[in-house]
Structure formats: structure tokens, C-alpha cells
């Protein structure tokens, strides 16, 4: 539902910006000749030499985690621990994010602060087997564990526009800090029980547990990416951005790893993890300087 709100909000912003563009008389545009266009470009350049931008963008993201140290509740006594190890899936569950962007542009470089609400998802599974020499003495259990994490991400970025003009591609690097807002774990147990005389396949009801205490209150990482700004004509920019966040610190709480009696009970303890995330966002940027009413900028005299 939240994603739907973000998409709707995004389209509202785009529609507003486009409407402003359409209000501008078509006939006025026709009268422009090349000289006038060059003059305008110069004014635009001057305008764009130094500018504050405010914008909003949203889009989906995909996550993966890397394991620093693994932990387990179930400790094998007569078999290898690797046989019940966790198998992490990468970039398979879609999350979402919404970003407010505040940027300052100066001669090709932009310093940008982009507070973001980010919802990330990742999952892992592990499998247990109990067997014997008797063929029917065989039980397999599979635990699937999905994590849903909500963060307030605070990235500080430097962007460089390597082209000027209406279409302005850029590269960006930065650092971010993420504050944990909420976390949920969904544990689903399924299996095959052959001990009852046949292959009895079953899947238990998922267990949904609030897991905020199990995750670190904050983590940090590095960020890089590329993007495009497209000037809609009145300096309102359409923004397309692809960013890769590389986690540099542990997202699991080392102190509270075993604090959830419910999760310990189903045999789960979080590993030490770092979270990586790829996001794709679309949005709009508005200039904050030279603004007059109706999104007209003073460079558009």
C-alpha cells in the first residue's frame, strides 16, 4: 500500500510539473529563433552555475546480505554444521524506498543530502534431516526466514554532471548512515515426514515476529551510482537514479542476538551481516533559487 502511495505521489509531481510546462504558450515557443535560444542558454547556464534543488523520488530496491560470522541455535553433535548452514538468497525480494532530496549545485558538482525511507527485504533458508537405516525413518524440515527491515537512510552524496544541457547524466558517490525504524521476521516451516508410512508433505503456518531488537540500531555504508536529470523546460527536472549501497557495518545486534525467545525457540539466531542494496528511483527536482509564483524561474524572463 505504501508503495502505491509513493507511485501516486510521484505521478502527481510529474503531472504538476508537466502541467506547468503546458501552460506556457505554444505560440511563444514558435517565435523563438536560434539567437534567442542561444541567449536563453546563456541565461540558463548562469542560472545553473549555482543552485539549490529540492525534490522527491521513489522506487523499488533489491537487497543482498554478506555474512561475516554465522550463528546457529541448532548445534550438531554427530554431523557437519555446514549441512544445516543458512542459504541466503540475493536480490530476490523487492523492497521500496522514498527519498526527499536537497542538493546544492555549483559548477558541475552537487552536494546532495537525501533522507530516505527504505524498506529492504532478504531471506535465507536452512534444512534439517533426521534419518536412519530404516527407509521410512526419515524427516526433513526446511526453515525459510524472511526479514523486512525499515530504515531511515541519511546519505550525503557528491554528484558530478559530466554533460550540460537538457539531458544531464551524472555520477555520484557518498556515504550513508541508516537508522533502524522497524524489523519483522517471517518464519515458515515446511517439510516431508515419511515416518508415518508415506511421504507426508506439510507446511506450517508462518510465524511473524517483531524483530527490531535483533537488529543494530544503526549501520553505515558507502554509496555510488549513476543518474540522469532531464530538464522539462522550466528547470523542473525529471530525475532517474540508480544507486548501489554497500554496507560497511553489521546490521545485526550482537547483544540481542538470542533475546527473542520465540525465534530462539524455532532455532534461529541472526548471523553478523552486512546489507547491500540496489535502488532505482524516479522523481522530480525543483530549483529553490529565483523562484517566483507558479514555478516560474527568474531566468525565464
Amino acid at each position: 500500500m505504501k508503495r502505491l502511495y509513493f507511485v501516486l505521489l510521484f505521478f502527481l509531481i510529474v503531472a504538476t510539473a508537466t502541467a506547468q510546462e503546458k501552460k506556457r504558450s505554444g505560440s511563444e515557443r514558435k517565435r523563438k529563433n536560434n539567437a534567442a535560444y542561444n541567449k536563453k542558454n546563456k541565461e540558463d547556464d548562469k542560472f545553473l552555475q549555482k543552485q539549490w534543488w529540492l525534490g522527491f523520488k521513489a522506487g523499488p530496491n533489491l537487497s543482498k546480505v554478506s555474512v561475516d560470522k554465522t550463528y546457529s541455535i541448532v548445534v550438531p553433535t554427530n554431523y557437519e554444521a555446514s549441512t544445516i548452514g543458512k542459504n541466503y538468497e540475493s536480490y530476490n525480494l523487492m523492497g521500496s524506498q522514498a527519498t526527499l532530496e536537497v542538493s546544492f549545485y555549483f559548477k558541475g558538482f552537487t552536494i546532495s543530502f537525501q533522507p530516505t525511507y527504505q524498506r529492504s527485504r532478504f531471506e535465507y533458508s536452512n534444512q534439517f534431516t533426521w534419518s536412519d537405516t530404516v527407509a521410512t525413518h526419515n524427516v526433513e524440515l526446511k526453515y525459510n526466514q524472511e526479514q523486512k527491515l525499515s530504515y531511515a537512510v541519511l546519505p550525503l552524496l557528491v554528484k558530478y554532471d559530466f554533460l550540460t544541457g537538457r539531458l544531464r547524466p551524472y555520477v555520484q558517490i557518498g556515504v550513508y548512515s541508516a537508522l533502524l525504524l522497524d524489523a519483522t521476521k517471517i518464519v515458515t516451516v515446511s517439510g516431508v515426514d515419511q515416518a508415518s508410512g508415506g511421504a507426508n508433505e506439510f507446511q506450517n503456518e508462518s510465524v511473524i515476529v517483531g524483530a527490531k531488537d535483533l537488529f543494530a540500531k544503526s549501520h553505515w555504508g558507502l554509496l555510488g551510482g549513476v543518474g540522469l536529470n532531464y530538464n522539462l523546460g522550466n528547470n523542473v527536472r525529471l530525475n532517474f537514479d540508480v544507486a548501489y549501497k554497500h554496507g560497511m557495518s553489521n546490521i545485526s545486534s550482537t547483544k540481542n542476538r538470542f533475546s527473542s525467545d520465540r525465534l530462539s525457540g524455532v532455532g534461529d539466531a541472526l548471523d553478523d551481516l552486512k546489507l547491500d542494496n540496489i535502488s532505482v528511483t524516479l522523481g522530480c527536482l525543483f530549483p529553490l533559487r529565483f523562484l517566483s509564483s507558479g514555478f516560474k524561474t527568474l531566468d525565464k524572463k
Binding site: 549555482k50 561475516d68 560470522k69 550463528y71 541455535i73 541448532v74 548445534v75 550438531p76 553433535t77 554427530n78 554431523y79 546544492f104 552536494i111 543530502f113 534439517f128 534431516t129 533426521w130 534419518s131 536412519d132 530404516v134 525413518h137 526419515n138 524427516v139 524440515l141 541519511l154 550525503l156 556515504v175 550513508y176 548512515s177 541508516a178 537508522l179 516451516v189 517439510g191 515416518a195 510465524v207 543494530a216 540500531k217 544503526s218 549501520h219 553505515w220 560497511m248 557495518s249 553489521n250 546490521i251 545486534s253 550482537t254 547483544k255 540481542n256 542476538r257 538470542f258 533475546s259 525467545d261 520465540r262 525465534l263 530462539s264 525457540g265 524455532v266 532455532g267 539466531a269 553478523d272
Partner: protein, 407 residues
Amino acid sequence: MLRKLYSLLFTLAGLLIIAGCSEKSNPEYDIQNFTSVFDNNKFDASYFPIDMRETPDGGYIILGGRRLSENSEFAGIYLLKVDKFGQFEKEIDVPKSTGVYPVGKLIEYQTRYYFFCMDEQTLNAQIASVDALLEAVAAKPVQGTLTYPGAVSFIDNNFVLLSYDNSAKQSVISLLNPDGGILASKGYDIGVGADDQIITEKYVIEHYLRTGRQWPFEVGKMANGLYYFNGFFNYTFSLVFSDVQADEPRNVVQGQSDKGGLSAVSYIGANKFAFARFSYGNNYILPNKDVPTGSPSSSDFGGYTLPELVADAPVKILPVTVDNKTALVYASNTRSKQIGLYFYDENSGKFISSRYLGFSNPYEIASLIQTTDGGLAITGTTYLAGRFPRICVFKISKEELAGQINK
């Protein structure tokens, strides 16, 4: 303009630094808190813990039992060594030729850990011991005829053993030195009348075979020099006080046949006991009780009722001290298949807080100890996949324990 930009940058940098205090790995946390379930992937493997002790390396030795075979009468002996992080180090499936039917407490004496077991053929009690590294298990018979060991304590460098004499149909309390020499011994009839004897003995024997109810046998000594045992006497499950010399007990807290009695007995010093009792399936907690006088019945003791516990629940009591505050931890099995921990003020007997361990799979209490770091270690049985009995260990940090008893 530039000044504003700098201000903004400094603000943001500060924000990032504050927020970026990253989670640091700390091995101490992994020692202070953990949960472990020790799994064997054999379909017919079955293990249950009896008692645990902390070893000098910070790890734990767990005395347990194991299923020997489909037709074996008694449980085999199982020993498990766990490191301070709750990870598996070593296990020993003690062969039944060494002994069967392990009995706690697991007692640390000098450099070894002692427990009692039984010779499978003669049913005689044996003293078994193992070192802290679980290198070798040794067992030697007691120097006399004491059969069916049921409970043991170690007081004044001697063992106090409760056993059952199935020839004389008596509960027997004995004092033994560490070499197994019997210093004193006295038996008390478990029942009167042939029919009653048969019924009472059935309860006792089914306990040893683990085909029936597991009775909370207990034995100990009070500061006044009197010994006590919680066992069958006069065809009720009773708390019997004895000097291990006189033919008659010095006092008895009578139960009600097999329907009522004390489910946990912990002498907490001076003139005080902490009890739990069962009565027709109900459970009652009595955290602060004077030494009984005048041959009372346990059903007269009252107590706090806990309907959330399973009928006639097994209960373990542990006195703990955290930062000079003393409390009693009652541990038992709840109807929701969890281990319930109930914290009571030792002095006033008032309830402080509770905590529940385990979820999804059933969990049952076996034993709990206070660790040298001030925390709590609890061992019990869980049933992986809802069916395979395995030993579990919960470690709770001193900080969390303090949080429970300072609420």
C-alpha cells in the same frame, strides 16, 4: 551563502557520525547470552538432560540420559561438554556395561564431576565420575547394597543418597564417603498393607523405567543437622526428616497418596525452605516457608497457584544473588510447552517477574544454575521437529537476570 553551506555540511556530518555508531562485535555478548539445541541426526536418537555444572574453562558439563534401545529397561548415561559460547565440544555415550540410569545432582568435587548410576544387572548404586574435559568416565559400586538410586546431594564432603530397596520396600537415605563407603543408612517403609505396597512400588518402578511419572525425589541436610528426603513414605509422596539413625522419622510432611505432595524442595538456610507442591494436578508455589513442625500435610501449605503449568508439573528451584539482591527462581513447564521462569523475592516471598523460554517446539525444564559471571544457565529437553528429544541450553546474562529480579 557559503557560510550556510558549511553549516549545513557540518550538521549533516555530525548527524552521520552520531548515527553511524556501528554495531561492534563483542565475544563477551556471545558468552553472556546464547541458546543452543544439541542435535543428533539419527531418527531414533533420544537424549534428555538431568543436571549441569559450569567448568573452570567457562563451559558446561551436562549429565543426561539416552535411549539405549527399544527393549532396554533403563536409560543409558550421556555426557555432553559445551564450551562457554554454547558450542558442542564433546559427548560420551557411556556404555551400559559401565552403568545405566544416571542420577543427579551432578556434583563438582576436587577436579572431577560426580553422579550416581546403577549397575544394569545387580541394580546396585554406583558412584560415577568424569573430569572437566570429559576424557574418561569411571564408575565404582557403593560398598554395600543400595539399589535404585533416586537422588543425591553432596554435603560436608559426603554424599547423601536417596535410594529404593525393592526387597524391603523402603525408601533409604544413606551417607556415603567419596569412595562409596556407607557411613550411615536408614530405610523407611514406602507403604503399609500388601495392596498399598504394590501400588506404591508401581509408582517407584515406573519412575526408574521412565514409563510413568517422574517423581521429584530430593535429598538434603538442614543447618540443624537433620537430613530430609522427598520420596515415598507410608504410601504417600512425603517430605521426611531424619537423623539417619532412628527407626522413625523426626518429622514428616505427608502428601496425599500419589495425588499430592511436594514437587520441589529447596533448603534456603536457617529455618527456611522454598517449596512447590502439587495437588490433584494443581501446582502451588511456596517461596518462603518455615521448617515444618508437627507432621503437617502438604495440602495445608497453601501457596500461589499457577494454572499455566502442566498438571503436577516438575519444578526446579534455584536461589540466586545479583548485586547483593537475593531471589528464588522457580522453573517449570507451561501448558504452552515453554519453560517458565518465575522470580520471587527470597526474603518476602513476593512475586517479582516471569520469563518464558522456547517457542514452537516443546521445551521442558531439567536444571538451572547460576554461572560465575552472575548469569543464569538453564538446560532442558526440546523436541526438534516436534518429536526428537534433544538437549537445549539457555544462557541469560547477569544484566538480564538483574532486570528480572529488580522489576
